[in-house]
């Protein structure tokens, strides 16, 4: 069924692909990528580096703003998932695209061509068994998907893609949901597919796994390709090259630096003791973390996504119940015991996109004077406040009565920051505060964060190591749910050390 073609020509190539989403976050910028048959191509990058968007472009789910795709050296422009499937591009999504209440056979038969109209599921069982044996996948076609384990569901997804004659398989963070045993098994399946001449894209942020299975490695950071290497080369060069990869992924190079003055460290504002938190899948993802954040300091939390930092912050802000330990917030001189919060998802959690800019400026403070008088809102005061915030924080909004969704990413973030800073809270929790923003906005937001520590404490969560090193007085490195605290100041050497701790290489 598969065509034999010149092995030197990549099956699929991307050239200069750029995609920007509303809210001004650049997901991909000028990305080049070649995928060859019979190779495992690892796409490494932090959460939000643009890996998934890139692959959604390849599978026809998202259309790029600029750049082109080549299929066997010829220009190709997939507009729908169907067109990508017809060319043999199959994607196994991170969140499985399976219908839980349907049987395995029904899930695989969905949209599959060449099946009889009647009783298609019964017809396909034989082929499912055949592919199961060929790739060591082992699934029961008659089982209902909701009864299957995560590993089994993944194997259903893989069969689904293979049965559609996929020549290119895109696996989006396939190991993040698997247990160690299942991962070994998955690598064995990967090997078989590779030997059958499939081009495989393996998206991950786990460096160790990449070294085990990849032939080629491309690293994305902030939507751009920061490294492109052959795995054999890296193996030859030894640990130095691995370390280099780690840095290319988490970022060590300082894009900008701002002068910071000394602020006296004061009394503790936030103390966390032996905190334990369950993740979404019911496993403990924060295993006994203790630290305190003092007045006058920025405490950075860094870690590669999925090591418990998200759950940690959600427990601190009260969004997720802790299952053990204790979080206490103390008041600081001149502030209340409030916790201001700048969430990672600024459009949907930090703001209400359909409310006006002015309304968004009082979302967390509307009940206080002067915005409320008894049960009524004080509209003139609110308008005045919105306008003053906009001018003080350089929020470039053409119309303060326009919905907040029309703001660019940087302006929206300034609005949220302005609102949260003006709450006069003792603790500010800032989650990925500059993710996706341009250099100018980033610098501005950094300044505000540093200013905030004069009156209170700042808990900064960042996937960007250079940002954390630049702003923090101390850094807690999260790895597999455990935190290691590193004292500042953060020299080049120390930040390298932290990079290794984040990726589990030290």
């Amino acid at each position: 069924m598969e065509k034999t073609s010149d092995p030197r020509i990549p099956v699929v190539s991307l050239r200069g692909v750029t995609k920007t989403f509303p809210g001004c976050v650049v997901a991909n910028e000028d990305v080049d990528l070649d995928l060859h048959a019979g190779e495992v191509h690892a796409l490494l990058g932090e959460n939000g580096a643009g890996k998934s968007t890139l692959m959604n472009i390849l599978s026809g789910m998202v259309r790029p703003d600029r750049g082109e795709l080549l299929f066997e050296g010829k220009r190709w422009n997939p507009r729908t998932p169907r067109q990508a499937i017809e060319r043999g591009i199959g994607m196994v999504h991170q969140h499985f695209m399976l219908i839980p209440s349907h049987s395995v056979a029904e899930n695989i038969a969905l949209g599959l061509k060449g099946l009889p109209l009647f009783l298609p599921a019964r017809k396909i069982e034989g082929r499912i068994r055949e592919f199961s044996a060929r790739y060591a996948l082992d699934v029961d076609p008659n089982a209902r998907v909701w009864q299957l384990s995560v590993g089994e569901r993944q194997r259903v997804e893989i069969i689904k893609v293979l049965l559609r004659g996929a020549r290119v398989l895109i696996l989006d963070e396939p190991t993040s949901v698997l247990t160690p045993d299942e991962i070994d098994r998955f690598f064995c399946i990967l090997g078989r597919m590779k030997n059958e001449g499939k081009a495989i894209v393996f998206i991950t942020h786990k460096l160790g796994e990449v070294m085990e299975v990849a032939d080629r490695i491309t690293i994305l950071r902030k939507g751009r390709v920061t490294a492109h290497m052959e795995a054999s080369e890296i193996r030859r060069m030894g640990t130095a090259a691995r370390h280099e990869l780690a840095f290319r992924m988490v970022g060590r190079e300082v894009f900008l630096s701002i002068g910071r003055d000394r602020v006296e460290r004061g009394e503790p504002i936030l103390s966390v003791k032996d905190l334990r938190v369950f993740g979404d899948r019911g496993r403990e993802t924060v295993n006994g973390v203790s630290f305190s954040v003092h007045r006058g300091e920025v405490f950075g939390v860094v870690g590669v996504a999925g090591n418990g930092q998200r759950e940690l912050v959600e427990a601190v802000t009260g969004l997720r119940p802790a299952c053990g330990g204790c979080v206490s917030l103390h008041e600081s001189a001149g502030t209340g015991t409030e916790c201001a919060y700048i969430p990672e998802d600024r459009l949907h959690m930090g703001a209400v996109p359909d409310l006006t800019v002015t309304d968004n400026s009082i979302l967390t403070t509307y009940r206080a004077s002067p915005f409320s008088k008894g049960p009524f809102l004080n509209i003139p005061a609110i308008r005045e406040w919105g306008a003053s915030l906009a001018s003080r924080f350089n929020i470039a909004a053409s119309d303060l009565n326009a919905p907040a969704r029309q703001l660019s990413g940087g302006n929206l973030q300034r609005l949220i920051l302005a609102r949260e800073l003006s709450r006069n809270a003792s603790l500010l929790v800032a989650e990925q505060p500059t993710h996706g923003l341009d250099v100018g906005s980033t610098e501005e937001i950094w300044k505000y964060l540093l200013d905030q520590r004069r009156s209170g404490a700042v808990l900064l969560v960042s996937g960007d190591l250079s940002e954390a090193c630049e702003l923090s007085d101390r850094i807690g490195v999260m790895f597999k749910g455990v935190m290691t605290i590193v004292e500042g100041p953060f020299t080049e050497e120390k930040s390298r050390e932290i990079g290794l701790m984040m990726t589990g290489l030290r």
């Binding site: 695209m97 209440s101 349907h102 009889p116 109209l117």
Partner: protein, 310 residues
């Protein structure tokens, strides 16, 4: 009259009265299985009833009347399909209810001169040989209008398509998780349109049955809230065409009994039963997740789908 004859009579009436309910419910099952909640059934049935009567009386051909009823229902359903699928309104309830009131209102205006005129023609009554020798059930089913048999046949056909065909898998998948179906190249919007239109055709025919067969004439508001019973019935039958057969005739029997037992029993209590039964089903369904799966509540019911997020 012996109890057997009485039971056969109840069943006979249940079949006759349950048929429009069954037809419209089958259509609504398809729309909802594809994830579109269409509360416009009452309006589509009213339009079907009016158009069916109008076309049948003008042409003198009851079959043309039935076709007109189906066509009117389909056209009306397009309004709802456009708002819920193309415009992607997040509140499908509103456009459905609007469609209901639109259908009731416009037929009231258009039908003013036709009120009370009897229809000279009707669809044929079929006599099934030997069936009347089977006691009670056979007697009740032996001599009915052709649409009664068509309804039962359609229920089986539509059940088979929904649960045993590739199209059915696509329809049910779209109602569960449109993103998953889309990722496999299934045309989500097209399938949803077709299912809503099928819902319109079936509701239109249900209405046409009322004005051509059941009571061959036109009266304003002759659907009498049947469309709302259909919505309830769709849930009551767990979105399954075969269960809908039982449900429709059960509700049909209740309706007949509420007339018959009027001297002894407040009819309101009996006409309330379909809704009460539906609430009970809803409570049971919401109570447990695994039950939810077994009962077939479409997970994406009432939710618009947009590929690039949102």
């Amino acid at each position: 009259m012996g109890w057997q004859a009485a039971a056969a009579e109840i069943l006979r009436r249940a079949f006759a009265f349950g048929t429009p309910l069954l037809l419209a419910t089958l259509g609504e099952i398809y729309a909802e299985r594809a994830g579109v909640l269409n509360l416009g059934v009452e309006g589509m049935m009213a339009l079907g009833a009016f158009s069916g009567f109008f076309a049948a009386s003008r042409t003198g051909n009851a079959w043309l009347g039935l076709a007109a009823a189906a066509l009117a229902g389909a056209a009306a359903s397009l309004i709802h399909a456009f708002f819920s699928i193309t415009v992607r309104t997040k509140i499908q309830v509103v456009s459905g209810i609007a469609l209901s009131f639109f259908g009731l209102g416009i037929t009231g205006v258009l039908g003013q001169g036709l009120e009370g005129k009897p229809l000279e023609t009707s669809l044929p009554i079929v006599h099934v040989p030997f069936l009347d020798r089977v006691p009670i059930l056979g007697e009740a089913l032996a001599e009915q209008n052709i649409l009664v048999y068509a309804g039962i046949l359609l229920a089986f056909v539509l059940w088979f398509f929904l649960f045993r065909s590739g199209w059915g898998i696509a329809v049910r998948s779209i109602g569960e998780d449109p993103a998953a179906a889309d990722s496999l190249g299934v045309k989500v919007e097209l399938v949803r349109y077709l299912c809503v239109i099928l819902g319109g055709i079936m509701a239109g025919m249900g209405g046409g049955y009322l004005s051509i067969v059941y009571r061959p004439s036109w009266t304003e508001g002759m659907t009498g809230g049947m469309g709302w019973i259909v919505i309830a019935l769709t849930i009551f039958s767990f979105w399954n065409p075969l269960v809908a057969i039982g449900g429709a005739y059960l509700f049909g029997a209740l309706f007949y009994l509420s007339y018959k037992l009027q001297p002894f029993f407040p009819p309101e209590l009996l006409t309330m039963l379909p809704y009460l039964a539906t609430i009970v089903v809803l409570v049971i369904v919401s109570a447990s997740g695994s039950l939810r799966r077994k009962m077939g509540v479409p997970a994406a019911l009432g939710l618009p789908y947009d590929r690039e997020g949102g």
